[in-house]
């Protein structure tokens, strides 16, 4: 019998429209970027926006020299004022005001004031061993890392300045000695081209792999549940009297994959728009767009092949089971194929050309995720990309073929769940 593409289209159309028209689709599509955006942007925004009045810290000086030095030291900001980091840095500096304690103030009295909330905190400066400055911070709230960082840099600036002075060095030389070294990562690409590295080099491959993982899990399970629903509501009998099992399975996979692609396209569009509109000066963090066209093409290719690969398995599982609980046991081994590359994510990114990493990026079960991680870390040789995609395509064909057979027999079975040997026999026989 030939495949009736009209039937396949009818099934695709139903699956697509039924899902896209649901309120839950609209809600997840709208809410997810809002939540993600909030998670990414909020901490930065909160760091910039001053919350409440600055923390006032009394400086109690027992050394004679350190008090004025700490008060005078104002380390130069390390980031340009226009950048997000610069804004956060200035905001953190502004969030702290240092005030010398009144002469002859009693430490115990200050401690009582801190305890009563009259004073925010006190910085106690004492002479330590070997002319070392010993500093103690006393406050109710000692869990503000920003404040510690600011105090820390001021204290160190004061100590270095004091030492250089006692050594009798020329202040201009002293200034030179204080200069810090900034380590700048530079990424070298094929042909010796270089570009500035950024945190994005690390985040993008992980994000892409995560996108694939989430799509396959979310929509693969949706396929499984769809099959299960058709089976448990018995509607499958009417459908199969008009449609071949293969047509039904294909239509389902393509229809639900289209829903996933639509949803991710919307998110991608929103992300691109945000990048171009450049609120909070995101672009300054990056050297060009974060996702290269090749990565995007690979993302789509690996998604499509990986999705068919896994959703065929999910469809077959749905066809073999009659309840949600039953599917759980069968789902676990399938999900392993997706989880393992994530468990191995850090070693993959650290040594992306190790033998086992190359193997995982070629092996169809793990290749969608491992290869995307690798492409972010190194320039993967073209032959490996080709081999990986080719093997995945072959693997997908084989899995879809076997799954269609299991699906064909399983979809009409009721009652007892078949055993693995039985399922394997269906593959050989049908």
């Amino acid at each position: 019998m030939r495949t009736d593409w009209g039937n396949v289209y009818a099934v695709i159309r139903r699956e697509f429209l039924e899902r896209v028209r649901k309120k839950s689709f609209l809600i997840t599509t709208l809410i997810t970027p809002v939540i993600f955006g909030a998670l990414m942007v909020l901490p930065g925004v909160l760091a910039v926006v001053q919350t409440g009045r600055p923390t006032e810290v009394l400086v109690v000086d027992k050394t004679g020299w350190a008090g004025p030095a700490v008060l005078a030291a104002a380390p130069a900001p390390r980031h340009a004022a226009a950048t997000l980091d610069g804004k956060a840095e200035r905001s953190a500096m502004g969030a702290l005001t240092l005030k010398p304690a009144p002469a002859g103030a009693d430490l115990e009295a200050i401690k009582r004031d801190i305890g009563d909330g009259k004073v925010d905190g006190a910085l106690l400066l004492e002479r330590g061993d070997q002319d070392q400055l010993k500093a103690t911070y006393l406050a109710q709230n000692i869990s503000n890392p920003q404040l510690f960082q600011t105090l820390d840099s001021r204290l160190n600036a004061a100590q270095v300045g004091h030492r250089l002075e006692t050594l009798g060095l020329d202040p201009t030389i002293a200034e030179k000695l204080k200069a810090r070294v900034n380590l700048e990562p530079v990424k070298v690409e094929k042909g010796g081209r270089t570009r500035k590295g950024s945190i994005m080099d690390f985040i993008v491959p992980i994000a892409l792999a995560l996108v694939i993982y989430m799509m396959i899990i979310m929509y693969g399970v949706a396929i499984m549940n769809g099959v299960l629903e058709e089976k448990s509501t018995k509607v499958v009998e009417v459908i199969l009297s008009a449609v071949r099992p293969f047509e039904l399975m294909l239509g389902k996979i393509v229809g639900i994959a289209s829903v996933g692609l639509l949803q991710y396209s919307i998110w991608f569009g929103v992300g691109t728009a945000l990048y171009l509109m450049n609120p909070l000066n995101f672009q300054s963090h990056m050297d060009g767009p974060p996702v290269k066209p090749l990565q995007l093409a690979l993302l789509v290719a690996y998604f499509l092949l990986g999705f068919v690969f896994y959703s065929s398995l999910y469809a077959a599982i749905g066809a073999c089971c009659t309840t949600q609980q039953e599917t759980q046991q069968w789902q676990t081994p399938v999900t392993f194929g997706l989880v393992i590359p994530f468990v191995l994510m850090m070693p993959t990114l650290m040594s992306p050309n190790a033998g086992w990493v190359v193997f995982l990026s070629l092996f169809p079960v793990t290749s969608p995720i491992t290869m995307l991680l690798r492409t972010g870390a190194v320039e993967v040789p073209l032959w490996q990309l080709g081999a990986s995609l080719g093997l995945l395509a072959l693997g997908t064909l084989a899995v879809a073929w076997a799954a269609a057979k299991v699906y064909r027999v399983g979809i009409l079975m009721t009652g007892k769940r078949p055993s693995i040997p039985e399922v394997l026999r269906w593959v050989r026989q049908a």
Binding site: E18, K234, V238
Partner: protein
């Protein structure tokens, strides 16, 4: 030309022979009864006819065409286990199945609206299936089977669970498609319906056709040889009591039916009953009902209902 022909059609599931090599012709037009006890192989035969199962052996032809070449538009199916997409709107659902049965989108929409009007559900087109009552869902399910005007409609227990009003409506719909020349294959356990609706039947038992032909003729053949008795004080009666006279005896506490052996005479039954002191209140030579014939053929002789 036959609506459906089965030549040596067989299907096994593992060791179980669900349908043994089977020969059957279903004539075109009218209602054909496909009868048989539960597990006889009817559903398997129907599923092979609908292309859900492929036969292990043999050929099925539909209106003279091999089954594999038959467009799904020619067939309609109401399975015994009813099922619809619960979350789909009624109109959408009918359009979807219309498209699967070869209708174009516009035509499917028109048929859906027309069908819903015909069964009085036009106001429910935009409602989801699970908002409908069970009876309404039955109507929608029947529309799914018939809306594309199939040449052959296979209906499995179409009247089960229907109230008398809806049963009448279903009957009218059947009449309508029969007028249009559709052949209906009716699978049912309700023998009164078979007597009322079917012109001919096939009785399937243990994967084989054990009886087939014209309903009137079958009843005549069996009927001339049946006796129906009503009585009291019949506790001592057993099947063995009548083994020499009747091929089969169906003995209930206050009533019995006997299928006479070819040479036996009805009077012998009455005489024996009276001899045994049974108080007979009614005695008649009856035409066998399809119910009796079904039980007789399936049990293959003696059935005792005590």
């Amino acid at each position: 030309m036959h609506a459906l022909s089965y030549r040596g059609v067989a299907k096994s599931f593992g060791q179980v022979k669900a349908v043994k090599p089977l020969e059957l012709d279903i004539p075109g037009g009218g209602i054909f009864g496909l009868l048989g006890p539960n597990g006889a192989g009817k559903s398997t035969l129907i599923r092979m006819t609908m292309g859900i199962y492929l036969p292990d052996a043999g050929d099925i032809t539909v209106l003279g065409m091999p089954r594999t070449q038959v467009a799904s538009a020619m067939l309609g199916y109401l399975p015994e286990e009813r099922g619809l997409y619960a979350k789909m709107k009624v109109g959408e659902l009918l359009r979807f199945f219309g498209c699967l049965r070869g209708l174009h989108a516009a035509e499917a929409s028109r048929r859906a609206a027309e069908g819903l009007r015909r069964v009085g559900l036009e106001k429910w087109e935009q409602n989801k299936v699970d908002e409908l009552s069970k009876g309404m869902q039955q109507k929608v399910q029947l529309l799914v089977a018939l809306q594309h005007r199939p040449k052959i409609a296979i209906l499995d227990e179409p009247f089960s669970g229907l109230d008398p009003v809806n049963a009448e409506l279903f009957m009218e719909l059947l009449e309508e498609i029969l007028q249009e020349g559709t052949t209906v294959v009716l699978s049912t356990h309700q023998m009164e319906q078979v007597e009322k609706l079917c012109h001919s039947i096939a009785l399937i038992n243990q994967g084989e056709v054990v009886l087939q032909g014209d309903v009137a003729k079958i009843r005549r053949d069996y009927g001339a040889r049946a006796v129906k008795v009503e009585f009291s004080d019949g506790a001592s009666l057993t099947t063995e009591t009548f083994a020499d006279i009747a091929e089969q005896s169906l003995i209930h506490p206050n009533e019995a039916r006997f299928f006479l052996r070819p040479a036996a005479h009805a009077g012998k039954v009455l005489k024996r009953l009276l001899d045994m002191g049974v108080k007979v209140s009614r005695f008649e030579e009856a035409q066998a009902s399809m119910h009796d014939i079904f039980v007789k053929v399936v049990t293959g002789g003696n059935a005792h209902a005590n």
